[in-house]
């Protein structure tokens, strides 16, 4: 008992680094803080809680010199839930089944074309500017919702953390510019706007569309799920065809 009092802080610190408690607590605390900032800022695309949390936690790890593996030791419990959450996307897709069924052919054609254009153009541009294979295949699924994008990147030999970052950048960028782009190219149909936002920039742009129009939001939701499935199937083929 007497050795408890003079126990140096670094001893506690190094003990905690071997335990899951710190990584898990830090993740949840940072998330709550990020949500608070996002609400105070009025839900700006740039204060997206996921984007903020990643930035804050990454800075904290770099400043304290904590290795990512020590952090992930705790954060893995949150990470694991991505799997069942992806499966859960089936429920909103089922809820929108009538609308999907009615316009299935236009949805399928536009979404597949847009999805392939976004993925292939990203990989072609990056290759032309000298990016290596693992960066290219990590970039390919960037327009898809994160859990699916990371799994696709992993299957193709990419870096899932890198893909998660690319997905975030795509989402923040898409959410900021989507309304301006639609205005420029005169896309006025809410269904087309929602589908395009969900296809090119997943949940982040969809969240922006939900605030503007309900129909656009529903089509964005459909696009997130369908694009996840289409990209999972098409991207490995495209990577082979273009030889990325």
């Amino acid at each position: 008992m007497h050795n408890l009092l003079p126990l140096p802080f670094f001893h506690v610190w190094s003990y905690l680094q071997t335990q899951p408690l710190m990584g898990l607590t830090a993740t949840l605390c940072t998330w709550e803080l990020a949500c608070f900032i996002d609400i105070k800022a009025g839900h700006k695309p740039i204060t997206n809680p996921t984007f903020l949390s990643i930035t804050l936690l990454a800075c904290a790890l770099l400043i304290t010199g904590t290795p990512y593996s020590a952090y992930f030791n705790g954060a893995q419990y949150v990470h694991f839930l991505l799997g069942p959450a992806t499966v859960a996307l089936a429920i909103p897709m089922y809820a929108n089944r009538h609308s999907i069924k009615k316009h299935f052919v236009p949805i399928f054609i536009s979404l597949t074309t847009g999805s392939i254009v976004a993925a292939v153009s990203a990989m072609l541009i990056a290759r032309a500017l000298g990016a290596p294979h693992d960066v290219l295949v990590s970039l390919g699924p960037k327009s898809v919702t994160t859990p699916i994008a990371m799994a696709v990147a992993q299957n193709l030999g990419g870096q899932p953390p890198l893909t998660a970052v690319f997905v975030m950048i795509t989402g923040v960028f898409g959410a900021i510019i989507c309304t301006g782009v639609f205005w420029l190219v005169r896309v006025k149909d809410w269904r087309a706007q929602g589908l395009a936002a969900g296809t090119a920039a997943h949940g982040l742009a969809t969240a922006r569309m939900i605030l503007i129009n309900e129909t656009a939001g529903a089509y964005g939701g459909v696009a997130i799920g369908l694009n996840g499935i289409i990209t999972s199937v098409a991207l490995p083929l495209l990577v082979n065809i273009f030889g990325f």
């Binding site: 998330w31 990643i54 499966v87 089936a90 909103p92 327009s143 953390p161 896309v187």
Partner: protein, 115 residues
Amino acid sequence: MVRSIMMLLLCQLAGTVVQEGTGLPIPGPVMGLVLLLGLLIWRGGPSQSLHDTAGGFLKYLGLLFVPAGVGVVTELQVLKANALAIAVAIPVSTILGLVVTGVLMQWLLRGKADA
């Protein structure tokens, strides 16, 4: 609620078994999504409990990809080495994706009202 989580995990497990067994490039959880969608269409919709549990997962979807995103600290060298490629490829391809999908969808839906 436990039954709903069990349902989601079983679909994911079945999807992963199919993916590992067949070597298909579709991720296990995506296969699980398709499987659950098939089940819902066949059985006629989710129970209230499954509906609520799925809603709970999706409400916090943003939180769930934080741990993987923090992995960026292990990729800083890669990001730095490919900064130009990334800074051009992501904005250009995202705009192209938005334009192509939006214009095509609007053209295909011209004159077609929603139900």
